[in-house]
Amino acid sequence: MATVPNVDVGSDYKEKYGFFVPEEYVFKAKRGLNPEIVKEISWMKQEPEWMTKMRLRSLEIFRKKPMPTWGADLSVIDFENIFYYLKASDKQSKTWEDLPPDIKATYDRLGVPEAERKFLAGVSAQYESEVVYHSLQKELTAKGVIFTDTDSALRDYPELFKEYFGTVIPPADNKFSALNTAVWSGGSFIYVPKGVRVEIPLQAYFRINAENMGQFERTLIICDEGSFVHYIEGCTAPIYTTDSLHSAVVEIIVKKNARCRYTTIQNWSTNVFNLVTKRAMAYADATMEWVDGNLGSQITMKYPSVYLMEPGAKGDVLSVAFAGKGQHQDAGGKMIHVAPNTTSTITSKSISKGGGRTSYRGHIKMYPGAHNSKSFVKCDALLLDDESRSDTYPYNDVDAENVTLGHEATVSKVSDEQLFYLMSRGITRSEAETMIVNGFIEPFTKELPLEYAVELNRLIQLEMEGSVG
């Protein structure tokens, strides 16, 4: 407690995280969005006809759907000024050594291999729009676990793919799921067979690199009966000057008695629009857990949801949002109780500073027939200065008998007593504030694997830099 680590992480941010490597692309689509570009993407990927048709149909839906009138202000997005597909290198590398040197340099600087080497079962790193580095542990393959990028999955496991793709989040779900279905590229595909437990977290790094490039990855996870998997998604993006759009779709199916945990640490640079649809279907006695951390981006709109489809299903969302200057984090969670005896919890922690705005937006819905279900939502917000803003918009609809629903929220500042105590122990004000913030999000950090917890604490320190005088 007496010695505080040097928190001067922010001063070299540009060198450390703000770098970018010169663009070098095998194929680069034109800016903008029209059926020709969508067909071209599908042709480049040599996709089956049903997928091409689905993409084109989704494009139509995207064009017809209005922009959401709630949440953050999205009017500044210019859909015609975005690259919808890029491919960084022609073929996938099998080992770390095979990676192109400039891409390797990018990851070296991010510290990916060092941090993860001992933990990794498979690294699936998404550079630009496609997975370029991907290794699967033999053990996993032997167990029948499929962990691949979504493009390869469409090619190599067409039947499994077609059975589940778009079933959890259909293209017409919302404007951005339609956009994603039209132009998706990359993402992870995981299938865990019956009764198989994947003890080591599966991880993928996503990166946006090219200026004005949209990233539309598509992730599909299927946990068959009695299986378990923990998937970790982490994002860091270099700083650019014009806006970028990230609009992913994540679909998860958790079958009977299975458990899936999906952990995200999202740190897009502060000009990225991060509009993501994440949804899981949990069947009998299955458990779905979303652990969702949102630090970067200009605007994030993301509400991981769980549809509790059969008795005994359980859903969990643990969400942390940090909004600094010019940022709006509109995050939260949704729990849709369809079956009886289902339970859900949402815990949200948000921090606003320097004029940033965090909004919790949540929805608990208990349909008729979801009797004996329980749901509890807790939101805590911390406002670090008087320029910042915090909102809470929880929607609670109870349509079922004998259910219990609770919602609690508090908004507060860093307490003077806590600050005084720490400062009386010789800790500077800014260090004390950083410690209090780290303590505030501790329930989240402790759910992360160690190296991610370290990384998150480092990012918080970085965000806290210069926050107080």
Partner: protein, 397 residues
């Protein structure tokens, strides 16, 4: 048919400014679109079956009954609102519909165009009235519109209690009702206001209550909603002076196929202000309720303290409660907490009482009484408290 321009002519003998205001509100009504499902406030609140044409007759131009304390202190003005508009335009004209705006939606516009009855109460600076003042609004027949409006002006450091009672003579009458209230609280004033809505079971009821609190003013506002097949109530308090304190409480008991909607706003415009909201309701049969409340703390409103809670006791398998407690906080130096619960009678509590030999129905009734008990004590004056206790007793059975 319905209420129309000719109906406006029935309201003759009013000052020109009021007649003009009614006409402009009626024009606003014509201009505004009907609430649609895409409108957040109306998403869960269906008014599509409200047919104004059925309620074209205005009832009770000035027909409310005022129960006065034995002697009103000097300077207090208490009279029907339309009479007051004639006698005291200087007091009424600048305030009427300045808190509850006619252009808020179609129903506020309709109310502003056709309000009849209702009370004007003016209590001068420093005046204290010990006994509560009671305004009773009756409906005698079905198929009519009854649209009273209450305007209350509390002078500096004045203190008094007021009760609005909305009473149906027949439980099954149909009709269109609105009972809106504007309360202006001067510096240091203390006002208790209770509204008890017990219209018939086939009535459409729309109410807009809004209070504005100046420095160190204190408001205790209490709503009791029991009647109507459809009842939508907005309760809003603007805290515009430092040290202002608003307590907004309500109980509701929805049974049969009743639908109740409550929208509340605690608007902290300046700092060092306090608001405390608690809405508690029980639902049975196929009743539905919607609660949506917002605490808004404006940028400069440091050291504000706001609390908001909505508790729903669901007593039947087919009742449905929606609860949306919202916060918009623009200042960090605040204390702000809210909570919402929806749930049945606690089975453990029920088990405990039954293990003491109490029959299930009695035990359930005791638990419902217990649920309301604590909040009933917050009704600001005894007369209203006794009235509400008796009403609840009759309904819980």
């Amino acid at each position: 048919m319905g209420l129309n321009a000719e109906t406006l002519d029935e309201l003759r003998g009013e000052p020109d400014w009021l007649h003009d205001r009614r006409q402009s509100a009626f024009a606003t009504y014509g201009r505004l679109p009907a609430p649609s499902k895409t409108d957040e406030e109306w998403r869960r609140t269906d008014v599509s079956r409200f047919d104004l044409g059925q309620y074209s007759k205005l009832e009770h131009l000035d027909g409310q009954k005022l129960v006065l304390p034995s002697a009103l202190p000097k300077g207090v003005i208490l009279k029907p609102l339309r009479q007051a508009a004639k006698d005291h335009p200087d007091l009424v004209e600048p305030r009427l519909f300045s808190l509850v705006h006619a252009d808020r939606d179609r129903f506020t516009a309709l109310h502003a165009a056709f309000f009849t009855g209702g009370t004007f109460l003016y209590v001068p600076d420093g005046v204290v009235i010990d006994q509560p003042i009671i305004g009773q609004h009756f409906s005698h027949e079905g198929g009519t519109s009854v649209l009273p409006h209450t305007l209350i002006v509390a002078g500096k450091n004045s203190r008094f209690d007021y009760l609005d009672e909305y009473i149906a003579e027949q439980e099954d009458e149909a009709g269109y009702r609105s009972g809106s209230t504007e309360i202006f609280l001067g510096d240091g004033s203390q006002v208790g206001y209770v509204a008890v809505q017990k219209w018939g079971r086939n009535v459409w009821h729309f109410a807009d209550q809004r209070a504005e609190l100046q420095k160190d003013a204190s408001l205790k506002l209490f709503n009791v909603t029991l009647g109507g097949k459809f009842s939508k109530t907005r309760v809003e308090a603007s805290l515009v002076g430092q040290g202002a304190n608003a307590e907004l409480k309500a109980i509701y008991f929805a049974s049969g196929d009743q639908f109740f909607d409550f929208h509340t706003l605690q608007d902290h415009r300046v700092g060092n202000t306090r608001s405390d909201l608690l809405f508690k309701g029980a639902l049975q049969d196929t009743a539905r309720t919607v609660y949506a409340g917002l605490i808004r703390i404006e940028k400069g409103a440091a050291r504000s303290d706001a609390y908001q809670a909505n508790r729903n006791l669901v007593l039947s398998d087919h009742a449905k409660a929606t609860s949306i407690p919202m916060l918009e906080i623009d200042n960090n130096d605040v204390r702000c907490t809210h909570g919402a619960t929806v749930g049945p009678v606690d089975p453990e509590h029920l088990f405990y009482l039954r293990s003491r030999g109490i029959p299930e129905t009695t035990a359930k009734r005791m638990l419902i009484q217990g649920f309301f008990g604590a909040v009933l004590e917050r009704i600001p004056f005894e007369h209203a408290r006794n009235l509400v206790e008796a009403e609840l007793e009759a309904r819980i059975g």
